[in-house]
């Protein structure tokens, strides 16, 4: 007594949390104390005394001082101890069976059941009644259903929300595994049916919920207190939900029972409790704990119930949860789902009705529901386009009202939902199908640049991954419109937002360029039209003022034009191969006209590339020229080459890689020497040779470049070529090589020139005489003699190899 007094006196000086701790510790200690004696009595079979101690122990739960969390702690502590009593009582049955006659045994449990009801205090009385009741069911000395019914009725005596909730939780826990169900031991011999168990659980659940709802925070008191109470209440929701979940675990729960008994009763309770927290939580429970099959027949009712909930309940979350569940259900099913009803229609109509009924619902919630609906339709009716179209139409309508153009959606959550609406169809359908929805592209316009780019990339990736075939102009145009953000960057009136990283940009453009390869059509004319469309769109996109002068323009232009150029060149090639006349008389008139058309287009495109990347332009001109030549369009080829040289002269002469450019030019020109008429050819060849001399700074480069140009004048290849010019070039090379001051280099160049001369001589070109070679060999020999030490081994080897080659292929040459 005195110790208690001192505790209570000292309590007031503690903080509320500390007080709680002290109170909890004291209660636990007292409970442990009683538990000890209870167990001792049980060990010596003094059941009556044990019950007395048990009752005292449970008496600790009568406290009204502990917070819900601490009360739970205490409850668990006592719960553990009560397990001893439970197992003793279960064991008692067997013990009695051995010791006493059948009759006595039957009386024993019912007597005990009566006996515990003499306790004067209701809470310990009911805890013991439940404990004994559970053992009573276990003994099967009375029908389980009767005992359950009695227990759930008697527990009504505890109306205190917290204490009642825990008592009923105890009831649920103790009977969880003792409920009559199909073909289980508790249903036998009139023990009860699944329906009886359902009745019991529903009754308990209803009462629990009523108690839980009653734990309203006080009307007065600070906001903080209210919040804390609310949180405490939320913490307890699991107790209610757990009880409800027990129904879902009954084997005997059928669809019919669910629809006719369980569902209506639960809904009744949810709706009538009029409490926001409870309604939100329990609706979610219902959606989650019952099998998908059960939801199908009750979808309408469930959605209807949603309209009857108190204002403020997050209906959207409930519905989305349900839709998601059913979507997953459909995705788990193999093959078609054998259900008559049109699940989508049911949802769609109910959701529409709900939106009508709840106009205050915000746009985000509406969007989220539509997203869920879309997922549902895609899972259940993967081939149905009408549903998706309807949804997109509706959403567009919604957004147009909310964000009249040119407003864009900025709320990140809303944006996420719009993105989902756009990307979900891509998961199921070909991008072209997605684009065919009337409002698909419209929806994109509500997004800002970066999001538009993202979805455009999604679309591109999907198209590439699926190998989508674009064969229709309208399709292509809608696709190009959709990928406009990638193609043309942000619109003029909006900021670019985050800087696009170079690697990202390159990646995007690379994907964009793939569109060209997706185009396919049997008719080359049509195909060309597609390519032209791409180029034209690209041109238009890139001609926007704000884009013209940015650093990214080069990458963008290349992405659009380069693939187009190559495809068209390939078309030209293919045309020549298939349509060339067998007599070798060159292209027919019709083909010539078409070919010209193709190359004109190429010419224009390459010119466009050349404006931003002359080096690439040069290469493309050469490539185009080469193709034209191969296809028999010599004049066109010459034009291309001329254009390449113009480009070289204007843009590349100052470039550090002139050498490479010149090599390419001369290579291509040489390659085409036969295809181009001589009056066009010679100026080109001369120009190339001249450039080699003038534009290169290093002697070895000059030398080698001119050496290469000699081939341009090789009369064996082109009748119009002038062998004299070839010799001139060779002499120029020798002069430059001789001027070369770099040690060892002149020797190397001499050998290279020699190799070239031998080549001409072996070919019996009039350009090179035997004397010329002999004197060159003599010159080299002198040089080798001067400089054996420092001479490069490789050079000497090359020299020897050249000599032996010459010897093998020539006769009567005096070395």
């Amino acid at each position: 007594m005195s110790s208690k007094k001192s505790t209570s006196r000292s309590l007031s000086s503690l903080s509320p949390d500390q007080q709680q701790r002290v109170l909890l510790e004291e209660s636990k200690k007292a409970a442990s104390h009683e538990a000890f004696y209870m167990k001792r009595c049980l060990d010596s079979d003094k059941l009556m005394d044990a019950l007395k101690h048990a009752s005292n122990m449970v008496g600790q739960l009568r406290t009204g001082l502990l917070s819900p969390k601490n009360y739970y702690d205490l409850y668990m502590h006592i719960f553990d101890h009560l397990k001893h009593l439970e197992s003793y009582l279960d064991h008692l049955k067997h013990l009695e069976g051995k010791l006493n006659t059948e009759k006595n045994r039957g009386e024993r449990m019912s007597k005990l059941y009566e006996l515990v009801q003499y306790a004067g205090n209701i809470l310990p009385r009911l805890y013991l009644l439940v404990t004994v009741g559970a053992a009573y069911i276990n003994s099967k000395e009375a029908p389980a259903k009767d005992i359950l019914q009695d227990l759930v009725e008697m527990t009504k005596g505890v109306q205190h929300p917290l204490r009642g909730l825990f008592l009923r939780n105890y009831l649920a826990e103790m009977t969880r595994n003792k409920l009559p169900d199909v073909d289980n031991q508790y249903s036998q011999a009139g023990g009860g049916t699944t329906e009886d168990s359902i009745d019991f659980i529903l009754a308990n659940f209803t009462e629990m919920n009523k108690l839980w709802v009653r734990m309203q925070p006080p009307e007065r008191g600070g906001v903080k207190l209210r919040e804390r109470r609310e949180q405490e209440r939320k913490d307890l929701r699991l107790l209610v939900g757990k009880t409800l979940a027990t129904i879902g675990r009954l084997d005997g729960l059928t669809e019919t029972t669910y629809k006719t008994i369980v569902f209506p009763r639960i809904m009744d309770q949810i709706i009538s409790c009029n409490d926001l927290i409870a309604q939100e939580y329990l609706m979610e429970c219902v959606v989650q704990i019952f099998p998908d099959e059960f939801h199908l027949p009750t979808v309408s009712q469930l959605l209807d119930a949603c309209t009857k909930l108190v204002p403020g309940v997050n209906i959207k979350r409930i519905i989305v949860g349900l839709i998601d569940r059913l979507s997953q259900f459909a995705s788990r099913q193999e093959g078609a789902i054998n259900i008559e009803m049109d699940v989508f229609a049911v949802f769609y109509e109910n959701v529409q009705a709900l939106l009508q009924a709840k106009p205050q619902m915000d746009i985000l919630e509406k969007l989220e529901m539509k997203v869920a609906l879309m997922a549902l339709s895609l899972e259940w009716y993967p081939k149905n386009l009408e549903n998706i179209s309807r949804l997109l139409g509706f959403v567009t309508h919604l957004l147009t009202e909310e964000y009249p153009a040119p407003a864009r959606v900025t709320d990140r959550k809303e944006v996420t939902q719009i993105m989902k609406l756009l990307s979900l169809p891509l998961e199921r359908f070909d991008p072209l199908v997605a684009l065919s929805f009337e409002h698909y592209s419209t929806l994109q316009n509500f997004l800002d640049f970066s999001q538009r780019s993202r979805i455009a990339m999604d679309l591109l990736d999907t198209a590439i991954a699926r190998g989508t075939k674009i064969g229709d102009l309208a399709q292509l145009e809608s696709l190009l419109l959709f990928v406009q953000p990638i193609m043309g960057g942000p619109a003029a009136d909006e900021p670019e937002g985050d800087l696009v990283e170079e690697s990202v940009l390159r990646h995007q453009q690379q994907r964009l360029s793939c569109v060209v390869h997706l185009c396919s059509h049997q008719d080359p004319e049509e195909l060309l039209r597609l390519y032209v469309t791409i180029a034209r769109n690209g041109e238009t996109a890139l001609n926007q003022d704000h884009l013209k002068n940015t650093a990214t323009i080069g990458v963008r232009i290349e992405a659009i034009f380069v693939p187009v150029i190559f495809r068209v060149l390939a078309m030209a090639q293919a045309m020549t191969v298939s349509g060339a006349p067998t007599d070798g008389s060159g292209p027919s008139e019709a083909m010539a006209k078409r070919g010209k058309g193709l190359f004109q287009f190429v010419y224009k495109s390459v010119s466009r590339v050349a404006t931003v990347n002359p080096r690439l332009g040069l290469k493309l001109f050469l490539q185009a020229g080469s193709s034209a030549g191969n296809c028999g369009f010599g004049r066109i080829a010459a034009d291309f080459l001329a254009q390449a040289l113009v480009l070289y002269e204007e843009k590349l002469a100052e470039d550090v890689e002139v050498m490479e450019a010149l090599t390419l030019v001369s290579g291509t020109l040489e390659h085409l020497s036969a295809a181009i008429e001589s009056e066009k050819y010679m100026p080109l060849a001369r120009k190339t040779a001249k450039f080699s001399h003038r534009h290169l700074l290093k002697k070895p480069d000059q030398c080698r470049s001119i050496l290469r140009s000699t081939h341009l004048f090789d009369g064996a290849k082109n009748p119009s070529a002038n062998d004299r010019l070839c010799l001139e070039c060779l002499k120029t090379c020798l002069r430059i090589a001789d001027d070369c001051m770099e040690p060892g280099m002149n020797l190397r160049l001499f050998v290279e020139i020699l190799a070239e001369c031998v080549y001409y001589y072996v070919k019996k070109s009039p350009a090179v005489s035997a004397e010329f070679i002999s004197s060159l060999v003599a010159l080299i020999n002198t040089n080798v003699g001067d400089d054996t030490q420092s001479s490069d081994r490789a050079v000497l080897d090359f020299y020897q190899a050249t000599l032996s080659h010459a010897k093998a292929h020539t006769e009567g040459l005096d070395w």
């Binding site: 009568r62 009566e114 004067g120 209701i122 009504k156 005596g157 929300p161």
Partner: protein, 314 residues
């Protein structure tokens, strides 16, 4: 406690008188009164003093009281006659006057003569209607006993031996036994309707009932059902009422809301109860009341008493 001690006080007075007589005149003989087949008869535990108890044989009201008296004279006793009486008396604790004898049956066992050897006197009280049950209350007692008397010649001290026994009367199942249903309340504050399944309960019965809450505007902390035993003695201005709560049983914890219904189940069997006695010889009554008590958070008590009849079932 204090009431108990009063009863004891009276007993002590009775006890004290006999040894004194014995001391003056010395015991002349040993007397024992035995009931037939006593070993098979049920006994009732009755408090004798504050700390001791005695066990009395139990008879039913219409049962014959049969047995024998064994007398072992220590010396020769010349007597004027031997008799045995069955008495039923009602004694008031505060009334020091002679007890009211409502049953007196004398039976002569022997004409005047001499007792020299051990002698047995069989007796058999047939058809003595022991209408009232034995009862030991706070202010009143109803008791039965046998009194054996030897009127000794030439002596002031007669031989007297008394033996109490206990009487129960079984009652027939009541023909009319409707439930009790009643709506009570405090205006705009609390309205409840309670319902007990019967108005008459036997002593091993169970009170089953329900409390409906029709209106709750006070903060109820708990509700209990108690059984009050009211013993009424005397009449008119000298009437005494003793109320004793024999059962106190919590039936609800916490505050209910409108529409709640709380079950009542009270097993009477475990408590020491008597049947209802109504105006026993116009001397006393014992009545029982179910008292429904609601306690609010300020410890205010709201209650409603309802009489129930208790009866003894065979």
């Amino acid at each position: 406690e204090s009431n108990n001690s009063l009863i004891v006080g009276r007993n002590q007075r009775a006890e004290a008188s006999r040894p004194t007589m014995a001391f003056l005149f010395g015991p002349r003989c040993e007397v024992g009164i035995q009931f037939d087949k006593a070993e098979k008869r049920k006994k009732v535990e009755v408090p004798k003093t504050s700390s001791t108890k005695e066990f009395l044989y139990l008879f039913h009201g219409k049962e014959n009281v049969k047995g024998k008296v064994v007398v072992r004279p220590k010396s020769r006793i010349e007597h004027k006659g031997i008799k045995i009486s069955l008495l039923g008396v009602i004694e008031m604790v505060y009334d020091t006057g002679t007890p009211f004898e409502f049953v007196t049956v004398d039976v002569d066992l022997s004409p005047p003569g001499v007792l020299e050897t051990d002698t047995e006197f069989p007796f058999d009280f047939v058809k003595v209607n022991k209408k009232y049950e034995s009862y030991m209350g706070i202010n009143v007692q109803c008791r039965y006993f046998l009194r054996f008397d030897i009127e000794v010649k030439n002596s002031l001290a007669n031989v007297r031996k008394e033996l109490g026994f206990w009487v129960h009367n079984y009652q027939v199942v009541p023909e009319i036994n409707s439930g009790i249903k009643m709506e009570v309340g405090i205006e705009d504050c609390l309205h409840i309707e309670f319902e007990y399944n019967r108005s008459k309960y036997h002593l091993k019965d169970v009170v089953i009932g329900k409390i409906f809450f029709l209106l709750v505007r006070i903060k109820i902390k708990h509700m209990e059902l108690s059984l009050i035993k009211r013993e009424t003695t005397g009449r008119g201005p000298s009437q005494f009422n003793e109320n004793e709560t024999v059962i106190k049983y919590e039936i609800m914890d916490g505050a209910p809301v409108k529409g709640e219904c709380v079950p009542v189940r009270l097993f009477l069997c475990g408590f020491d109860l008597t049947p209802t006695y109504r105006s026993v010889q116009k001397k006393f009554s014992v009545k029982y009341y179910l008292n429904l008590v609601l306690v609010d958070e300020e410890q205010r008590r709201y209650f409603k008493q309802q009489e129930i009849t208790l009866w003894r079932k065979k």
